[in-house]
């Protein structure tokens, strides 16, 4: 599904990714772990197409197609979803209105008619139940005054609504208490299928107790320096990141 080859990227002439390789197939869950500043969020933003970063070398392919020239919304239309580490606030725009616009714009890009209101309503009802979201919450301004947990739950709710092929969860566990974490993880697990893939970016192993990864990668200094199965995450939890650094030296 996703194939990244020798990816180099920088921001303001500061090099952040230095030859990163990653392949994610449909039906897989990958976890990317690593110390602060390793480039985890940069990777997520680059896959989503944020303009601040300059890709200096390498290829990003989605389903065999090079997406590096596509605008962020075009990548989204192709099924890329990024759950933001810090979701932005848009005052005055309700969650419902926002998600309705997002779905219909995506449908428009695919040459489909707007989703009938009845279907939309049904879908909202289903997905909000899945994430234990209160109906009142849906009428509030997007992310404005939301607690950390509400913001993250809202991200996963949008993911559920948009049904992406590739979901990237950027530090979705940060700022969540244990109950919220369980709800979010439960939501993600239910949305998992053999046709889609999930990349979980996290600093801690905690979330991986709930979303079991097929692969765990360690990102350090702009490169993936170690890959393994779920047990690697436990090892990192126990030993910290320093042993990786030492191993590299």
């Amino acid at each position: 599904m996703l194939k990244i080859n020798n990816l180099h990227a920088s921001i303001d002439e500061k090099s952040i990714l230095k030859g990163l390789n990653l392949e994610v197939k449909a039906g897989e869950v990958h976890a990317i772990m690593g110390p602060n500043g390793a480039g985890k969020s940069t990777l997520a933003n680059i896959i989503a197409g944020k303009e601040d970063y300059e890709v200096t070398d390498g290829i990003i392919e989605l389903n065999g197609e090079d997406i590096s020239e596509l605008a962020p919304e075009e990548r989204a239309h192709n099924g890329v979803f990024l759950s933001f580490q810090y979701p932005v606030e848009i005052p005055g725009v309700s969650v419902t209105n926002f998600i309705k616009t997002a779905i219909n714009e995506t449908r428009k890009a695919k040459g489909l008619e707007d989703m009938p209101a009845k279907d939309m309503l049904k879908m909202i009802r289903e997905k909000s139940e899945l994430l234990e979201i209160d109906r009142k919450f849906l009428s509030r301004s997007l992310n404005e005054g939301f607690s950390g947990g509400e913001k993250k739950r809202n991200e996963i709710f949008q993911m559920a609504m948009l049904e992406p092929k590739l979901a990237i969860l950027d530090e979705t566990d940060s700022g969540l208490d244990i109950d919220a974490l369980r709800i979010v993880a439960n939501g993600v697990n239910k949305l998992k299928s053999k046709d889609n893939a999930v990349i979980v970016i996290t600093h801690y192993q905690r979330l991986l107790d709930y979303i079991i990864p097929d692969f765990v990668h360690v990102l350090y200094d702009g490169k993936i320096v170690k890959s393994g199965d779920a047990s690697l995450a436990l090892e990192l939890e126990a030993k910290g990141y320093d042993w990786i650094k030492q191993e590299l030296v």
Binding site: K50, E73, V93, T101
Partner: protein
Amino acid sequence: MKYTEEDLEQELKTKEYEYGFYTEIESETFAKGLNEDVVRAISLKKNEPKWMTDWRIEAFRVWEKMTEPDWANVNYEKPKFQDIAYYSAPKKKPKLNSLDEVDPELLDTFKRLGISLDEQKKLANVAVDIVMDSVSVATTFKKTLGEKGIIFMPISEAIQEHPELVRKYLGTVVPTTDNFYAALNSAVFSDGSFCYIPKGVRCPMELSTYFRINEGGTGQFERTLVVADKGSYVSYLEGCTAPSRDENQLHAAVVELIAMDDAEIKYSTVQNWYPGDKNGKGGVYNFVTKRGLCETNAKISWTQVETGSAITWKYPSCILKGNNSVGEFYSIAVTNHFQQADTGTKMIHLGKNTRSTIISKGISAGHSQNSYRGLVQINSRAENARNFSQCDSLLMGNACGAHTFPYIEVKNKSAQIEHEATTSKIGEEQLFYCNQRGIDTEKAIALIVNGFSKEVLNKLPMEFAVEAQKLLEISLEGSVG
């Protein structure tokens, strides 16, 4: 006949404003210039009673001694008042045979606003077929109102049919001496609307100038008088989201509202006069005086969406005379290209326990200048007066300006006044977030602007609000590269 996108584009290039704009109009027009004789002649033409003629003459004499104000934050070439023809009625727009004859840009806008074909015809002055006969609609309308004793007619008719009412209230809220443009309007006003809601009556429908009977062309000096008697309620809509192409450069309207004890008037405006072209050439000067008087427990609520005109100079105000009266002002002002808007409100608190709310949303794009100017005045006897004001500006691009000039004058210690103002732009982060969810930048801007304006849009009557949202979107097109 098929009308393809290419056709449209071609027409846009070559035939701008061919129709309805510079066309010779069959009308009776006085020579240019203004003097007492012209004022008399206007009055005579309209067959007005002597008191009305005298009233106009008095206004003219006042106007002659006044000078045009220049304190507003706008720059323009002053109109030449002796170069204007002050009487030209009945102003018939040219009748067109089919929509094919209508300015394609206008049609395009109609289409994007979602205005029905029949309505498009009516707005563009195309002969309307029997399916939607404006007269029959109007007749049904009139019958319903008549049963409730509501008077809703052109003010020229009201002067003939209800002289006692007009005479009693005309000029009581905006006196002829009030300001330069109000004095001019009083002397030469062509027509406008009169509305009277009897005691205790709740007007069952939105009163809209759009449906007004025998409309004689809105004219450049419109005069509106709305009287809501004790305990009555009316919601009044002025204007239309469709673009108004009017060859009159200067518009100086006066609107007076009177809300008697326990009455409520909700006055909503969508102003979409011709704003001039992308280079700032042409466009309407819109110098309006709007004011309402609230008696005890009365409430007046002004809501406006201002997207048109080259120059806007407009401060819908409330005089909160009665105890416990309430004044509200909700405004969205969008300026793009070279438009200039100086708009806001005055809330004059005279009575006890009076409350006012001001929510102003200014959106500036292109090379435009957008100013909020407001006065909150708490007089010494206005015990426990409350005001909350919020003025938010959104800037798009780096060639426009947003200005806030709030005046707060308080002479009573029990007053509670809160004023907040913020200025912001559409954040890159917000745009990226929307893009990531599949929403392109243009749509994202529309979404964010609508969110920014929501508190005001919510105050509009439902069907108006939907159109106003689309209007905002269209007004800001091309404002971000």
